[in-house]
Every structure is written in C-alpha cells, then in structure tokens.
Symmetry: C2
Subunit: 130 residues, 2 copies
DNA sequence: TCAATAACAGTAATTATTATCATATTATAC
DNA sequence: GTATAATATGATAATAATTACTGTTATTGA
C-alpha cells in the first residue's frame, strides 16, 4: 500500500483534535483549521480525517446526529450526548464489555463488540444553565 | 396539532414493516410498496416512516450504516449487525439497562437512556455460508 | 353531496460526503 | 543541492440520503 507522506494540514488536524474535548464534526474541524491554513479545502479535511481513522489515530463517532463527529482520543471509552444541547462528552466509567456475553447467550452467531452511547441531560442543562 | 387522516399508503407501509424481519431502509420499503402502489413516491415513504416513528408505531435504527433502517416492532429490544453481510437482526436477550447506572456513577448530569447495538458474525456468516 | 383539509405524486432543493484532476509538496536517489 | 517519482492539495463536480415545495387527489365530517 502507498506510503503515507507528511502533510502540514494533516498534522494540524491531528493536533487540533488532540487538544479539543468538543468531538467536532468535519465541518467544525474545517472552520478551525482554516484559521491557520485559510486555503485548506473541506475535501482535504475529510480525506485526512478518514485517513487518521483508518490508521487508528483518531475515532469517528456517530450519535444518530446528522453528521459524524471525530475524537482525537483513540483509546476505547464511552460517550454521552445531551438531549437538550446536543453536546457530546466523554464518560469516565468502567468497561461494560460484559454485555457482549449477555448478548451472545442464545445467539447462534458471534458477538465481536458493541457500540454504545448514553444520552440524557449534561451537567449544565441538568442545572438549568443553557 | 393537525388530525391524522387515513391513507392506504401509510397502512401498506405499516403492514409491510410488521411482517418483515429485514429492518429495511426507506429505499427498500419504497421498492416493496411499489409492487402494490406503483405510483407511490419516495417522499411519501419518507414522510410516513417519520410520521410512524413520531407516533411510536415503529422505530428508526441507525447502525453507522449509510442509511437509516426501520423496525416495525416498537417494543424496546436490541439489534445485531453482521460485519460481513451487514444484515441487521433482532437479539433476544435480557435487558442491559443497568449500564445506565454504571455510566451515571460520577457523572454530574443525568443519564436517561442508552443506544446500543452489537456486531460480529451472524449465524450464516459464522458458519461460512454467505 | 360538499366544503375543508390532510395526503399524495412529482420534482426541486438541501446536506453530508466522496470523487476527480491539474498543480503543489514531500521524499528519495543521485 | 537537483532531478525524479509519488503522494497530497485546493477547487470543483458528483453522489447519496433526505427533506421541502406545489398543484392535484383522497378522506372526513357536516
């Protein structure tokens, strides 16, 4: 497979994702990187995001939202999405991988994993702050 | 709010979803209903699917697939998607709602629910049948 | 039977994402 | 350092899923 060549744009995207806790969409990434590289194209952002996902350096999250979001932390962890403000947050919680065993009981196929996210009210919306 | 009026098309969609175990996409529903109503429009299918979802008569499932799928069974239950053939199946398993409590421990907001689906190899693909 | 209104079919518009392509950058060999 | 080859880029076009619009048709309740 073709060797990966360095690019400032890809580096900037990776750095931005490493810093933020926002779980931004491709479009949000685009708007931020444009501050540093005003000519960057949205296609370049998409291409690099997908590249980084396939390299395992970042992850793509799909919370039934209209567009995919990206997370610079590739370590397995869980996400929460606020029903009110739609913010996506990381959850610090113990693993729930035991649910794979529950799902596998009585299933003829093979359970290899699960995709789970939680929803409700984020700390701010729960307090009534918006 | 406007009163709902009967429509044969909506009824046909509901019946089709009640019968099938396929978890079809809007387009698949469209193709099936066209056998009975050749002039039905895709927009009508989408409008009615969303209507039925908002009435709680069917549910919409999003498995990170390119398009949403629909399930005629609105009772809460879990889904499995095959990594190989992409088929979506119902899982008969006990509730895993206790994971909400696990997620809520140490979280300042309020967990109201979770969206979970499992993936792996379906019974057929697991056996090597394709 | 008729008037009011929701639903329809057909089509255009929108949104997110991917593909194309000529040019610019990066890596490598001399 | 310069030439060569290959990947990455920016600009734009294309695609795919879904939603919005509009004039016509079907359903409802009087």
């Amino acid at each position: 497979m073709a060797t990966l060549k360095y690019s400032r744009q890809r580096e900037a995207i990776k750095e931005y994702l490493a810093k933020t806790k926002e779980h931004p969409t491709a479009d949000t990434v685009y708007m931020h990187i444009r501050e540093q590289y005003p000519n960057i194209s949205l296609g370049t952002v998409y291409r690099n995001l997908n590249l980084l996902v396939s390299q395992g350096e970042i992850i793509k999250i799909n919370c039934n939202d209209s567009s995919d979001r990206f997370d610079g932390n590739p370590e397995p962890h869980y996400h929460f999405i606020c029903n009110e403000c739609n913010r996506v947050m990381d959850l610090e919680m113990e693993s729930i991988d035991h649910i794979n065993k529950i799902a596998g009981a009585g299933f003829e196929g093979k359970i290899e994993g699960n995709v789970t996210f939680f929803h409700g009210l984020c700390p701010d919306c729960n307090k009534g702050d918006h």
